[in-house]
Amino acid sequence: MNTSVPLMKCVSKRPSAGIFQALGLGMLMIGFCLSFGCNAGKKSESTDAHEEHFPPHWPETIFGAADRLAALESGSAEKGPDSWVSLEQQWVDLFRWLPELAADSELSKIEFDQVDAISLKHGISMEKMLEQGKTLEQMRAEPGISEAIATLQQICRQELQRLQTLEQ
């Protein structure tokens, strides 16, 4: 009894037909993906990584975010010449970005938790209000917003003072 399994003999009467048919299908599919997929730019094209990954209203630091939120709250903020993002959207985005910006700073865990709590509390509710088409005035009239921004500013002021003391 020959128990070995010879090449190309075990499953089909004409296995090579399947292979050629699959190859034919393959060539068709390559044409398909070439026609759909290859209209993009080359990788070597130099691009500015910062512009690609950050929207124009990205505040860079937690201090910038606190200042911008305070300006938006007081109504003194302007949209900015290069920003296509509405003030409402900026307001919501800033609340959502707070934890990331806080983590990208020297804030202690306790201070981070405070900032994170502000983001969790107001970020989601602001986002819902944005989806409902509420205006910035209606959003900043939400209870607790002024206190949250004041707390944020206080945390930032303390941190700036600490950093200045360290520098001296």
Binding site: S4, C33, E52
Partner: protein, 521 residues
Amino acid sequence: MDVFICGGIVRMLQAFVAAAPTIVVGWLVAAVMERILGRDGTLRLFGGHTWRQLPYAWLLGMLLPVCSLGVIPIMVQMRRSGIAGGTILAFGLTAPLFNPISVLYGLTLSDPFALLVFCICSLTIITVMGLLWDWLFPNSWLEPELLPKTPYGIRRIGAVALSMCQQAISASTWYILLAILGVGLLSMALPAGCLQKAAGKDDLAAPLAMAGVATFAYITPMVAIVQVASMFQHGNSIGAAFTLLVLGTGVNLGFIAWTITNYRLKPSLIWLSSLMLVVLVLGYCVDQPLRPRGVEPADHTHAFDVYCNPIQDLSSDAIAASTRLLRDSWKLEDLIAAAAGILFVLIGLVQRVVDPNGKWMKWLIELSAEPSSEKMLSEPRQGLRRDIVLPNWIIALSCLGGLVAASIVGCFLYYPPRSAIRQEMQYVQSDLMADTLKYEWDKILYWVPIQEDWGHKLAVSAYLRGTPLTRYQKMKLHVFMSKLELLEHAAEDQEKEEVDKWKWEANKAFNRLKDSLNASK
């Protein structure tokens, strides 16, 4: 021209080496089915011709650590055991799709809810496609092949080993090679970086284009989950991510050829087109609801660079570039598995030449002339050694328990303790910083993905060991990974000023991450 050919060869070799561990596992499982379970045992394992066959195909598919190449020898054995076509195809799609390690990894990369929806949708598709096949083409099973029973004892182990070598030179290997050829053809057809903008959030053609690419591509379950998560993180098309997961991991040129060879062209084409259609419809359906909120869509992604030609500089020395690419991408464990795979093929070939009539296997499985030998098939052997013949249900339960236990142990080995990961990250960070100071672009691009990988492992390891990262630590890790990505982009563009900026940012973020981890000790 050299660049295209060398690029294709590089991708084929990379695919072979990456797949080697699971191909060897596929041969082992196929050999166990052939020599230990036998045809009737394999049929019973997959629930016979009852309603249980599809759920069993799911369960076994998810537990077995095989990819879309390693699954082919198993499908051959299933077919010879008389299992229905729908069950075989469902198993062939499920087995490469998920395994415990890749799912755990994926959970740290993207929204768990989205991943859960992806898993449920994928398994639904597979079930629907299995049922559809059995409905369209009933009785698509073969009569089980007659196989002599293998006697218990050391010779059975020898028979399994020899069967593995025979699997390595069987028809299934042609299909595996064809799948690898498909990877090469794809990378020859797609110039470097040409898919970077192929999966934009608002690109309606993205799932369609991804279906074309993914059908050819060979992706290991781990790579698939990383790419899908990367698409979530970068705000790419979710429909395209879903298409990539199902078609990229499950389907390849070898799988298609095997299906056509075994079930003829027309039924196979009907089934494959239906699969594509269902995947695309579901892909377009989940695209909007699962779109992550708050993710700023990047204008390009490098997730699909692995399907394109790896050599970016058309004027470079193609051979030197290929050698470097291969050296950088191969891991020791994969190379060991590839060497083992080649060894099995060589032994198989030697056996074919030296022993064309299969006397070796005949000797291993035939009963001896002793009067007691008939009892070897069913009774324990008496005497000093007192071999015990275990009932089949104990062996089956042990195998199943063993697979689950191996998966758990595998998870703990793959995700070492937090302290070990922290130390590894420290070493990698030092090397990365040294290379950024010298603007060694290739080395920077070599270290960044390794560091990112350790970052993901850190999160899984903490979760596995019952001490998940706090929100504070998670955010520190997130910031570090973001900076690493920006450093990677700057290195890709060879922008010295950008690299200078992001290397310090990344290092600062790394130190903060370390401090946050130390604080919790």
